[in-house]
Amino acid sequence: MDWYPLYNSLRIALISSGIVFFAGVFAAYYIAKLNPVAKGVLDVILTLPLVLPPTVVGYFLLLFLGTKRPVGMWFLDQLGIKMVMTWYSGIFAASAVAFPLMYRTARGAFESFDETLAYAGQTLGLSGTYIFWRIRLPACRQGIMAGLVLAFARALGEYGATSMLAGYTPGRTATISTTVYQLWRTDNDELAFRWVMVNMAISAVVLLAVNMLEKGNRGRRKG
């Protein structure tokens, strides 16, 4: 059994979780401060990938990143980087689809944050950066961790946009989800079943981690 799809899926999920973590947290933080109108508009735009079919997200991404499209062409001509049909194309697809999950949970967490903690930090002389990373984030860590885990799980299971952007090339762009489809399509039920089991195992581990995380937090709070 060729383990490349597992390796590829994990690295795509991990890298996109990282991107989505920072992008989602910062978007949530700055958008929470905006006026209601701008907030509403941006909120709709940033949440859209959550409700759109992944193929539509993939279509939009191709509109920019395709080799004959402005951004994709620029990268290819200037830097010699092909944005589609490579393993890292999967990162773009997974990030776009997982982003709203991180953004929304982080925003919910930020909105319930007691702002007097930030004020207290300021009057005590703490810098804005310190307050953000050492007070605001830790105080909201439960919501943010939940968002991160959800984003990771979503990125790991991404299929629609990934298949459009990265396609399926064994040993190069294949992920678990595209492999399962490909194997099933080619009547290789037995191998497809094995990959299904692998996928289930990973998901179970992720869910277990979430549960333990929550328990740990609760235990600490009770002291």
């Binding site: 004020y119 207290a120 300021q122």
Partner: protein, 370 residues
Amino acid sequence: MSLYVDISKDLGSFRLSAQFEAENDVTGILGASGCGKSMTLKCIAGIMKPDRGRIVLNETVLFDSEKKISLPPQKRHIGLLFQNYALFPHMTVEKNLMTARRTVERDEKKARKAVGEMIERFYLTGLENHRPDQLSGGQQQRTALARILLTNPRLLMLDEPFSALDGYLRWNLELELMDILKEFENTVLFVSHSRDEIYRLCDKACVMDQGKSTPVVPVKTMFDEPETLAACMLSGCKNYSQAQPGWDPDGGEVRKRWVYAKDWGVRLECRHGVSGDIAYIGVRSHYIHILSDREEERPNMFSCRILRIVEDVFNMVIMVTPLNPGSDSARLRLEMPKEEWRTYANGEKGNGGDIIRVWIAPHDILLLRE
């Protein structure tokens, strides 16, 4: 060493206009909730920005709208104790204190030493590794105060420090706070809706009503001689009437010390001359005396009917209505120790519906502006 504040901020339906000075002692701001007290503190701390004005602390300009100066809170060196104490929930007591100390002390060892001393001074020994939610209200307050004092603030501001506590604990904390404030050498601003707290803890105070502040006066003056209706109400006075200075309903000789209490339908004589801008008079419930039948008539005496008698913990409260023309809807509240009421009610009248004579001494009439 002093604080100068003259700021205004427009919030549509609410307009803040605070103007006061504080010296190196404890200055109180007395006001009902929503009067702009907390907002004033936030403006001074730099968390909120006033529209116009100037804030100066010990010759350092913190804010000046004309010169476009507005120091960030981090550079103002002002300690603000929040109502909910705002301890960082994910940090232990010690970490909370260290975080604050490290902003003024780069050397970790020295910082740790200072924090250790503060933990001892504020009776937090043994609680170093507790999280805020494992502390009692009093311990939380002590931690928050210690955290502020570790940053060597030039001004200490306390926003309703006892509102999160009740009864017995509150009193003990107040005693503790008195000691802490005595040791603190710089200016202290104390904000509260409780006149008792202001009276006990502050040297001077001003009143804030609907966003406007009155001049700062010594607390004794504020309570004995309040100048405005709002200040008088906040000082706990219960009886008011609209006033017409120097006017006698009978068209008799007008004297400077006379004031006509319109709602009570009675002319009263005051200790001093009554100036023309006096719009209200107030009399505290303890200062309306009941005259027994044996006592002779005198100025400032009038008859009332008893409406009801309410027994309080230590006092009797007697609600009466004056029997003067046009005073039917007026209610006066009299209060006296139970002992005194018993002496009076034993031999004489003391039931609902009875007519009694009450008297107010000229020096007990508070003359109030709008």
